[in-house]
Protein backbone atom coordinates (compact mmCIF):
# COMPACT_ATOMS: atom_id res chain seq x y z
CA UNK A 1 0.00 0.00 0.00
CA UNK A 2 1.31 3.42 -0.95
CA UNK A 3 1.58 5.91 1.90
CA UNK A 4 -0.29 9.17 1.48
CA UNK A 5 1.76 12.32 1.37
CA UNK A 6 1.81 14.63 4.37
CA UNK A 7 -0.50 17.60 3.77
CA UNK A 8 -2.33 15.87 0.90
CA UNK A 9 -6.11 15.53 0.66
CA UNK A 10 -5.77 11.81 1.38
CA UNK A 11 -3.79 12.57 4.54
CA UNK A 12 -6.47 15.07 5.65
CA UNK A 13 -9.12 12.34 5.29
CA UNK A 14 -7.12 9.96 7.49
CA UNK A 15 -6.53 12.76 10.01
CA UNK A 16 -10.28 13.31 10.19
CA UNK A 17 -10.90 9.65 11.08
CA UNK A 18 -8.04 9.66 13.57
CA UNK A 19 -9.35 12.77 15.35
CA UNK A 20 -12.85 11.32 15.49
CA UNK A 21 -11.44 8.13 17.04
CA UNK A 22 -9.23 10.06 19.49
CA UNK A 23 -6.07 8.90 21.26
CA UNK A 24 -5.20 5.20 21.17
CA UNK A 25 -5.83 2.82 24.07
CA UNK A 26 -2.10 2.76 24.69
CA UNK A 27 -1.97 6.53 25.06
CA UNK A 28 -5.08 6.55 27.23
CA UNK A 29 -3.64 3.91 29.56
CA UNK A 30 -0.82 6.23 30.56
CA UNK A 31 -2.99 8.99 32.04
CA UNK A 32 -5.73 9.24 34.66
CA UNK A 33 -9.38 8.71 33.74
CA UNK A 34 -10.29 12.18 35.08
CA UNK A 35 -7.97 13.68 32.45
CA UNK A 36 -9.70 11.73 29.65
CA UNK A 37 -13.13 12.59 31.06
CA UNK A 38 -12.22 16.27 30.65
CA UNK A 39 -10.91 15.56 27.15
CA UNK A 40 -14.21 13.89 26.14
CA UNK A 41 -16.29 16.64 27.73
CA UNK A 42 -14.44 19.29 25.76
CA UNK A 43 -14.62 17.23 22.56
CA UNK A 44 -18.39 16.84 22.91
CA UNK A 45 -19.01 20.59 22.96
CA UNK A 46 -15.99 22.07 21.19
CA UNK A 47 -17.33 24.56 18.64
CA UNK A 48 -14.12 25.99 17.19
CA UNK A 49 -12.03 25.45 14.08
CA UNK A 50 -8.27 25.23 13.65
CA UNK A 51 -6.13 26.13 10.67
CA UNK A 52 -2.88 24.27 11.31
CA UNK A 53 -0.19 25.57 9.00
CA UNK A 54 3.01 24.23 7.59
CA UNK A 55 5.08 27.30 6.74
CA UNK A 56 7.19 25.87 3.92
CA UNK A 57 6.23 22.51 2.52
CA UNK A 58 8.99 20.70 0.60
CA UNK A 59 8.79 21.27 -3.14
CA UNK A 60 7.78 17.66 -3.78
CA UNK A 61 4.70 18.20 -1.57
CA UNK A 62 3.73 21.30 -3.47
CA UNK A 63 5.92 23.88 -1.75
CA UNK A 64 4.80 27.11 -0.09
CA UNK A 65 2.63 27.50 3.01
CA UNK A 66 -0.47 25.36 3.41
CA UNK A 67 -3.01 24.80 6.17
CA UNK A 68 -4.97 21.84 7.49
CA UNK A 69 -8.45 23.13 8.31
CA UNK A 70 -10.29 21.26 11.09
CA UNK A 71 -13.84 22.24 12.07
CA UNK A 72 -15.28 20.68 15.24
CA UNK A 73 -19.04 20.39 15.85
CA UNK A 74 -21.22 18.04 17.89
CA UNK A 75 -18.31 16.01 19.19
CA UNK A 76 -16.94 15.09 15.77
CA UNK A 77 -14.83 16.61 13.01
CA UNK A 78 -17.33 18.31 10.70
CA UNK A 79 -14.75 19.33 8.11
CA UNK A 80 -11.10 18.48 7.58
CA UNK A 81 -9.25 19.53 4.43
CA UNK A 82 -6.16 21.21 3.07
CA UNK A 83 -6.31 24.93 2.35
CA UNK A 84 -3.84 26.10 -0.27
CA UNK A 85 -1.98 29.42 -0.26
CA UNK A 86 -4.53 31.10 -2.54
CA UNK A 87 -7.65 30.15 -0.58
CA UNK A 88 -9.18 32.34 2.16
CA UNK A 89 -8.06 31.40 5.65
CA UNK A 90 -10.97 31.62 8.08
CA UNK A 91 -10.67 29.68 11.35
CA UNK A 92 -11.20 30.39 15.04
CA UNK A 93 -7.53 29.70 15.67
CA UNK A 94 -4.75 29.90 13.10
CA UNK A 95 -1.52 28.17 14.12
CA UNK A 96 1.61 27.32 12.19
CA UNK A 97 4.94 25.54 12.44
CA UNK A 98 7.88 24.67 10.23
CA UNK A 99 8.00 21.47 8.19
CA UNK A 100 10.95 20.22 10.25
CA UNK A 101 8.84 20.44 13.41
CA UNK A 102 5.87 18.66 11.80
CA UNK A 103 8.28 15.90 10.78
CA UNK A 104 9.74 15.77 14.31
CA UNK A 105 6.21 15.46 15.75
CA UNK A 106 5.55 12.58 13.35
CA UNK A 107 8.85 10.97 14.38
CA UNK A 108 7.74 10.98 18.01
CA UNK A 109 8.57 14.41 19.44
CA UNK A 110 6.22 15.26 22.29
CA UNK A 111 3.14 17.37 21.42
CA UNK A 112 3.19 19.11 24.79
CA UNK A 113 6.74 20.33 24.20
CA UNK A 114 5.83 21.26 20.63
CA UNK A 115 3.49 23.82 22.21
CA UNK A 116 5.67 24.74 25.17
CA UNK A 117 8.80 25.27 23.09
CA UNK A 118 6.83 27.44 20.66
CA UNK A 119 7.42 25.16 17.69
CA UNK A 120 3.75 25.61 16.84
CA UNK A 121 2.54 29.16 17.38
CA UNK A 122 -0.83 30.86 17.55
CA UNK A 123 -0.93 33.38 14.70
CA UNK A 124 -4.58 34.43 14.97
CA UNK A 125 -7.27 33.91 17.59
CA UNK A 126 -7.95 34.67 21.26
CA UNK A 127 -5.01 33.29 23.23
CA UNK A 128 -6.77 33.01 26.60
CA UNK A 129 -9.78 31.23 25.08
CA UNK A 130 -7.49 28.89 23.15
CA UNK A 131 -5.66 27.86 26.30
CA UNK A 132 -8.82 26.96 28.22
CA UNK A 133 -8.85 23.75 26.16
CA UNK A 134 -5.10 23.30 25.70
CA UNK A 135 -5.01 19.65 26.84
CA UNK A 136 -7.60 18.79 24.18
CA UNK A 137 -5.53 20.59 21.56
CA UNK A 138 -2.24 18.98 22.62
CA UNK A 139 -3.73 15.48 22.57
CA UNK A 140 -5.26 16.13 19.13
CA UNK A 141 -1.93 17.46 17.86
CA UNK A 142 -0.31 14.20 18.98
CA UNK A 143 -3.03 12.23 17.14
CA UNK A 144 -2.39 14.23 13.94
CA UNK A 145 1.36 13.72 14.25
CA UNK A 146 0.92 9.97 14.65
CA UNK A 147 -1.04 9.55 11.39
CA UNK A 148 1.00 7.49 8.96
CA UNK A 149 2.17 9.53 5.98
CA UNK A 150 5.16 10.08 3.77
CA UNK A 151 7.32 12.93 5.05
CA UNK A 152 10.16 13.69 2.60
CA UNK A 153 13.61 13.90 4.17
CA UNK A 154 14.84 17.32 5.16
CA UNK A 155 17.31 18.85 2.76
CA UNK A 156 20.31 20.29 4.64
CA UNK A 157 20.39 24.07 4.39
Amino acid sequence: MTETNFFSSGWAAVVRDALDAGPSDQVRAGKLQEYWDLFETIKSVYPASWALGCRELPAELGGGPAYLFVQWAGGTVADCRIIGPDEPLAATYVLAMDYADWKALHDGYDAQRTVMYRKILLEEGNLLEFFKTIYFFAECLAVIGAVEARYPALVPA
Binding site: Y35, Q112, L121, A138
Partner: protein, 334 residues
Protein backbone atom coordinates in the same frame (compact mmCIF):
# COMPACT_ATOMS: atom_id res chain seq x y z
CA UNK B 1 14.54 10.51 61.42
CA UNK B 2 15.36 13.82 63.11
CA UNK B 3 13.52 15.63 65.91
CA UNK B 4 12.71 18.51 63.56
CA UNK B 5 9.03 19.41 63.05
CA UNK B 6 7.23 17.37 60.41
CA UNK B 7 7.14 18.84 56.86
CA UNK B 8 3.51 19.89 57.25
CA UNK B 9 3.69 21.40 60.74
CA UNK B 10 3.70 24.94 59.35
CA UNK B 11 0.23 24.42 57.85
CA UNK B 12 -1.21 24.51 61.36
CA UNK B 13 0.89 27.43 62.60
CA UNK B 14 -0.56 30.30 60.59
CA UNK B 15 1.65 33.16 59.38
CA UNK B 16 4.98 33.40 61.17
CA UNK B 17 6.29 36.60 62.71
CA UNK B 18 9.93 36.93 61.67
CA UNK B 19 12.26 38.72 64.07
CA UNK B 20 14.78 41.25 62.78
CA UNK B 21 17.52 38.69 63.45
CA UNK B 22 15.72 36.07 61.36
CA UNK B 23 15.25 38.53 58.50
CA UNK B 24 18.96 39.41 58.66
CA UNK B 25 19.86 35.71 58.65
CA UNK B 26 17.78 35.16 55.50
CA UNK B 27 18.95 38.29 53.70
CA UNK B 28 22.64 38.11 54.56
CA UNK B 29 23.49 34.40 54.72
CA UNK B 30 26.20 33.32 52.32
CA UNK B 31 25.62 30.12 50.37
CA UNK B 32 27.18 27.80 52.97
CA UNK B 33 25.02 29.26 55.76
CA UNK B 34 21.79 28.94 53.78
CA UNK B 35 21.77 25.27 54.88
CA UNK B 36 20.93 26.48 58.41
CA UNK B 37 17.99 28.63 57.31
CA UNK B 38 14.47 27.22 57.79
CA UNK B 39 12.63 27.06 54.46
CA UNK B 40 9.38 28.09 56.18
CA UNK B 41 11.08 31.29 57.31
CA UNK B 42 12.20 32.01 53.73
CA UNK B 43 8.68 31.47 52.40
CA UNK B 44 7.37 33.79 55.11
CA UNK B 45 10.06 36.28 54.10
CA UNK B 46 8.59 36.38 50.58
CA UNK B 47 5.46 37.94 52.08
CA UNK B 48 7.28 40.34 54.39
CA UNK B 49 7.40 43.22 51.93
CA UNK B 50 4.31 42.50 49.85
CA UNK B 51 2.20 45.15 51.60
CA UNK B 52 4.85 47.86 51.07
CA UNK B 53 6.63 46.65 48.00
CA UNK B 54 10.28 47.67 47.48
CA UNK B 55 11.18 49.59 44.32
CA UNK B 56 13.07 47.93 41.48
CA UNK B 57 16.42 49.54 42.29
CA UNK B 58 16.20 48.21 45.87
CA UNK B 59 15.45 44.74 44.50
CA UNK B 60 18.43 45.01 42.15
CA UNK B 61 20.72 45.99 45.03
CA UNK B 62 19.46 42.99 47.03
CA UNK B 63 20.24 40.77 44.04
CA UNK B 64 23.84 41.99 43.96
CA UNK B 65 24.26 40.99 47.62
CA UNK B 66 22.36 37.70 47.46
CA UNK B 67 23.57 36.14 44.22
CA UNK B 68 25.37 32.85 44.71
CA UNK B 69 27.66 30.63 42.69
CA UNK B 70 25.88 27.45 41.65
CA UNK B 71 29.25 25.79 41.05
CA UNK B 72 30.17 26.20 44.74
CA UNK B 73 27.66 23.48 45.71
CA UNK B 74 29.15 20.09 46.57
CA UNK B 75 26.64 17.30 45.86
CA UNK B 76 28.77 14.43 47.21
CA UNK B 77 26.64 13.86 50.37
CA UNK B 78 23.46 14.18 48.26
CA UNK B 79 24.67 11.29 46.09
CA UNK B 80 25.07 9.09 49.18
CA UNK B 81 21.64 10.10 50.51
CA UNK B 82 19.96 9.51 47.13
CA UNK B 83 21.56 6.14 46.49
CA UNK B 84 21.81 4.67 49.98
CA UNK B 85 19.36 6.36 52.36
CA UNK B 86 16.27 7.28 50.36
CA UNK B 87 13.76 4.56 49.47
CA UNK B 88 12.61 3.94 45.89
CA UNK B 89 9.19 5.41 46.79
CA UNK B 90 10.86 8.56 48.12
CA UNK B 91 13.01 8.89 44.99
CA UNK B 92 10.02 8.46 42.68
CA UNK B 93 7.91 11.02 44.58
CA UNK B 94 10.85 13.41 44.64
CA UNK B 95 11.36 13.06 40.88
CA UNK B 96 7.66 13.60 40.16
CA UNK B 97 7.81 16.94 41.99
CA UNK B 98 11.34 18.17 41.24
CA UNK B 99 11.07 17.52 37.49
CA UNK B 100 8.39 20.20 37.22
CA UNK B 101 10.99 22.63 38.56
CA UNK B 102 13.75 21.30 36.34
CA UNK B 103 11.65 22.22 33.31
CA UNK B 104 9.94 25.19 34.94
CA UNK B 105 13.20 27.01 35.68
CA UNK B 106 14.24 26.62 32.05
CA UNK B 107 10.89 27.98 30.89
CA UNK B 108 10.90 31.06 33.10
CA UNK B 109 14.49 31.77 32.06
CA UNK B 110 13.84 31.80 28.33
CA UNK B 111 10.41 33.47 28.40
CA UNK B 112 11.47 36.51 30.45
CA UNK B 113 13.66 38.57 28.06
CA UNK B 114 10.72 39.84 25.95
CA UNK B 115 9.07 41.31 29.05
CA UNK B 116 12.07 43.60 29.50
CA UNK B 117 11.46 45.49 26.25
CA UNK B 118 8.42 47.38 27.51
CA UNK B 119 9.69 47.90 31.07
CA UNK B 120 10.93 51.09 32.77
CA UNK B 121 14.71 51.54 33.00
CA UNK B 122 14.76 50.63 36.72
CA UNK B 123 12.62 47.56 36.11
CA UNK B 124 15.00 46.50 33.32
CA UNK B 125 17.79 46.22 35.93
CA UNK B 126 15.59 43.98 38.06
CA UNK B 127 14.52 41.83 35.09
CA UNK B 128 18.10 41.45 33.86
CA UNK B 129 19.04 40.21 37.34
CA UNK B 130 16.07 37.88 37.36
CA UNK B 131 17.08 36.36 34.02
CA UNK B 132 20.52 35.62 35.47
CA UNK B 133 18.88 34.11 38.58
CA UNK B 134 16.70 31.83 36.44
CA UNK B 135 19.69 30.73 34.34
CA UNK B 136 21.51 29.83 37.57
CA UNK B 137 18.48 27.88 38.81
CA UNK B 138 18.43 25.99 35.51
CA UNK B 139 22.08 25.03 36.02
CA UNK B 140 21.31 24.07 39.63
CA UNK B 141 18.74 21.49 38.49
CA UNK B 142 20.97 20.35 35.64
CA UNK B 143 23.73 19.63 38.13
CA UNK B 144 21.34 17.88 40.57
CA UNK B 145 19.89 15.59 37.90
CA UNK B 146 23.29 14.88 36.40
CA UNK B 147 25.35 14.43 39.58
CA UNK B 148 22.81 13.10 42.10
CA UNK B 149 20.03 11.39 40.15
CA UNK B 150 22.56 10.15 37.59
CA UNK B 151 20.84 11.14 34.34
CA UNK B 152 23.19 11.05 31.35
CA UNK B 153 23.56 13.65 28.63
CA UNK B 154 26.02 15.80 26.75
CA UNK B 155 24.23 19.09 27.28
CA UNK B 156 21.44 20.81 29.21
CA UNK B 157 18.74 19.74 26.74
CA UNK B 158 19.80 16.09 26.99
CA UNK B 159 19.19 16.19 30.73
CA UNK B 160 15.86 17.98 30.24
CA UNK B 161 14.88 15.26 27.76
CA UNK B 162 15.84 12.59 30.29
CA UNK B 163 13.73 14.04 33.13
CA UNK B 164 10.73 14.90 30.93
CA UNK B 165 9.01 11.51 31.43
CA UNK B 166 8.39 12.57 35.06
CA UNK B 167 6.66 15.82 34.03
CA UNK B 168 2.88 15.77 34.19
CA UNK B 169 0.85 16.46 31.03
CA UNK B 170 -0.87 19.37 32.76
CA UNK B 171 2.47 21.24 32.84
CA UNK B 172 1.58 22.64 29.41
CA UNK B 173 -1.31 24.55 31.00
CA UNK B 174 0.56 27.37 32.78
CA UNK B 175 3.91 26.98 30.98
CA UNK B 176 2.46 26.69 27.48
CA UNK B 177 0.32 29.74 28.22
CA UNK B 178 3.41 31.63 29.35
CA UNK B 179 5.25 30.63 26.15
CA UNK B 180 2.42 31.91 23.97
CA UNK B 181 2.05 35.10 26.01
CA UNK B 182 5.80 35.67 25.58
CA UNK B 183 5.31 35.30 21.84
CA UNK B 184 2.48 37.84 22.02
CA UNK B 185 4.89 40.25 23.74
CA UNK B 186 7.55 39.52 21.12
CA UNK B 187 5.09 40.86 18.53
CA UNK B 188 3.65 43.67 20.72
CA UNK B 189 6.23 44.48 23.41
CA UNK B 190 4.59 47.75 24.51
CA UNK B 191 1.02 46.43 24.77
CA UNK B 192 0.34 47.10 28.47
CA UNK B 193 -2.68 44.82 28.59
CA UNK B 194 -0.69 41.93 27.13
CA UNK B 195 2.08 42.68 29.65
CA UNK B 196 -0.37 42.49 32.57
CA UNK B 197 -1.76 39.19 31.29
CA UNK B 198 1.80 37.84 30.96
CA UNK B 199 2.69 39.16 34.44
CA UNK B 200 -0.33 37.44 35.95
CA UNK B 201 0.75 34.07 34.57
CA UNK B 202 4.46 34.48 35.32
CA UNK B 203 4.71 36.43 38.57
CA UNK B 204 1.42 35.78 40.33
CA UNK B 205 0.64 32.21 39.30
CA UNK B 206 3.85 30.38 38.38
CA UNK B 207 6.23 32.11 40.79
CA UNK B 208 3.93 33.41 43.49
CA UNK B 209 1.64 30.43 43.88
CA UNK B 210 2.89 27.26 42.17
CA UNK B 211 6.61 27.62 42.85
CA UNK B 212 6.36 28.69 46.47
CA UNK B 213 3.84 25.96 47.27
CA UNK B 214 5.55 23.09 45.54
CA UNK B 215 9.17 23.93 46.35
CA UNK B 216 8.31 23.60 50.02
CA UNK B 217 7.36 19.93 49.60
CA UNK B 218 10.81 18.66 48.63
CA UNK B 219 12.64 21.19 50.81
CA UNK B 220 10.73 20.40 53.98
CA UNK B 221 11.24 16.70 53.28
CA UNK B 222 15.01 17.22 52.93
CA UNK B 223 15.14 19.28 56.13
CA UNK B 224 12.94 16.86 58.07
CA UNK B 225 15.04 13.84 57.12
CA UNK B 226 18.36 15.67 57.13
CA UNK B 227 19.02 14.51 53.57
CA UNK B 228 20.33 16.18 50.40
CA UNK B 229 22.22 19.13 51.97
CA UNK B 230 23.40 20.66 48.69
CA UNK B 231 19.91 20.39 47.19
CA UNK B 232 18.48 22.04 50.31
CA UNK B 233 21.09 24.79 50.21
CA UNK B 234 20.75 25.56 46.50
CA UNK B 235 16.98 25.35 46.36
CA UNK B 236 16.53 27.43 49.54
CA UNK B 237 18.83 30.05 48.01
CA UNK B 238 16.61 29.78 44.93
CA UNK B 239 13.59 30.47 47.14
CA UNK B 240 15.32 33.59 48.47
CA UNK B 241 15.84 34.69 44.85
CA UNK B 242 12.15 34.02 44.18
CA UNK B 243 11.22 36.43 46.97
CA UNK B 244 12.72 39.25 44.88
CA UNK B 245 10.99 38.00 41.75
CA UNK B 246 7.58 37.75 43.41
CA UNK B 247 7.96 41.16 45.05
CA UNK B 248 9.01 42.73 41.73
CA UNK B 249 6.18 41.00 39.88
CA UNK B 250 3.58 42.02 42.44
CA UNK B 251 4.87 45.59 42.31
CA UNK B 252 4.47 45.57 38.53
CA UNK B 253 0.87 44.28 38.74
CA UNK B 254 -0.04 46.60 41.61
CA UNK B 255 1.34 49.66 39.77
CA UNK B 256 -0.47 48.65 36.57
CA UNK B 257 -3.82 48.40 38.34
CA UNK B 258 -3.27 51.66 40.23
CA UNK B 259 -2.48 53.44 36.97
CA UNK B 260 -5.47 51.92 35.16
CA UNK B 261 -8.04 50.16 37.37
CA UNK B 262 -9.50 48.37 34.32
CA UNK B 263 -6.32 46.27 34.26
CA UNK B 264 -7.91 44.12 36.96
CA UNK B 265 -9.99 42.64 34.12
CA UNK B 266 -6.81 41.40 32.42
CA UNK B 267 -5.71 39.76 35.67
CA UNK B 268 -9.13 38.14 36.13
CA UNK B 269 -9.33 36.95 32.51
CA UNK B 270 -5.89 35.37 32.78
CA UNK B 271 -6.70 33.71 36.11
CA UNK B 272 -9.95 32.44 34.58
CA UNK B 273 -8.01 30.62 31.84
CA UNK B 274 -5.45 29.29 34.32
CA UNK B 275 -8.11 28.02 36.70
CA UNK B 276 -10.03 26.36 33.85
CA UNK B 277 -6.92 24.32 33.08
CA UNK B 278 -6.09 23.64 36.73
CA UNK B 279 -9.02 21.44 37.68
CA UNK B 280 -7.60 18.12 36.58
CA UNK B 281 -4.63 15.79 37.14
CA UNK B 282 -3.22 13.57 34.43
CA UNK B 283 -1.14 11.44 36.82
CA UNK B 284 -1.44 10.11 40.32
CA UNK B 285 1.31 11.67 42.42
CA UNK B 286 2.10 10.11 45.77
CA UNK B 287 3.25 12.76 48.25
CA UNK B 288 3.14 10.46 51.27
CA UNK B 289 6.75 9.22 50.95
CA UNK B 290 7.83 12.87 51.38
CA UNK B 291 5.61 13.41 54.42
CA UNK B 292 2.71 15.13 52.66
CA UNK B 293 -0.79 14.30 51.47
CA UNK B 294 -2.52 15.69 48.40
CA UNK B 295 -4.96 17.61 50.62
CA UNK B 296 -2.10 19.22 52.55
CA UNK B 297 -0.47 20.37 49.29
CA UNK B 298 -3.80 21.92 48.28
CA UNK B 299 -4.07 23.73 51.63
CA UNK B 300 -0.55 25.09 51.18
CA UNK B 301 -1.40 26.17 47.66
CA UNK B 302 -4.55 28.04 48.72
CA UNK B 303 -2.63 29.74 51.55
CA UNK B 304 -0.04 31.00 49.05
CA UNK B 305 -2.64 32.26 46.59
CA UNK B 306 -4.81 34.01 49.20
CA UNK B 307 -1.86 35.75 50.79
CA UNK B 308 -0.58 37.09 47.45
CA UNK B 309 -4.00 38.34 46.41
CA UNK B 310 -4.75 39.91 49.79
CA UNK B 311 -1.34 41.51 50.20
CA UNK B 312 -1.39 43.23 46.81
CA UNK B 313 -5.10 44.06 47.00
CA UNK B 314 -6.46 41.89 44.18
CA UNK B 315 -9.99 40.62 44.77
CA UNK B 316 -11.60 37.76 42.83
CA UNK B 317 -14.95 37.72 41.06
CA UNK B 318 -17.55 35.12 42.22
CA UNK B 319 -16.96 32.87 39.19
CA UNK B 320 -13.22 32.82 39.91
CA UNK B 321 -13.90 31.96 43.56
CA UNK B 322 -15.96 29.00 42.38
CA UNK B 323 -13.29 27.86 39.91
CA UNK B 324 -10.73 28.06 42.67
CA UNK B 325 -12.46 25.34 44.67
CA UNK B 326 -11.77 22.85 41.86
CA UNK B 327 -8.07 23.54 41.43
CA UNK B 328 -5.44 20.78 41.41
CA UNK B 329 -2.10 22.61 41.36
CA UNK B 330 0.48 21.55 38.78
CA UNK B 331 3.60 20.23 40.48
CA UNK B 332 5.96 22.72 38.96
CA UNK B 333 7.40 26.15 39.38
CA UNK B 334 10.07 28.46 38.17
Amino acid sequence: MTDRPSPTAVLHEGPRALSDAQVREIEESNLADVLKVDIDDVIEYVHKDLKALPDFTTLYRKYLKQRWDVYDLDFSQDVIDWQEKMTEDERQSFMAIASGFHHGERQVEIELPVFMIGASEEEKLHIAAQIEDEARHTVFFDRFYREVVGLKGDDIMDILDASFPWVSETFVGPFGLLAYQADELRRHPYDERARVRYGTTYFLWIEGVLALSVMKVTLSYARWRGFLPAYYTGFTATCRDESRHVQGGMKYLQDAVRKDPSMINEIHDTLRTILYTSGVNSRQIYYEPLGWTQDEVRILFFQQLRRKLNDVGISLSPDLEELLTKVQPVLAGG
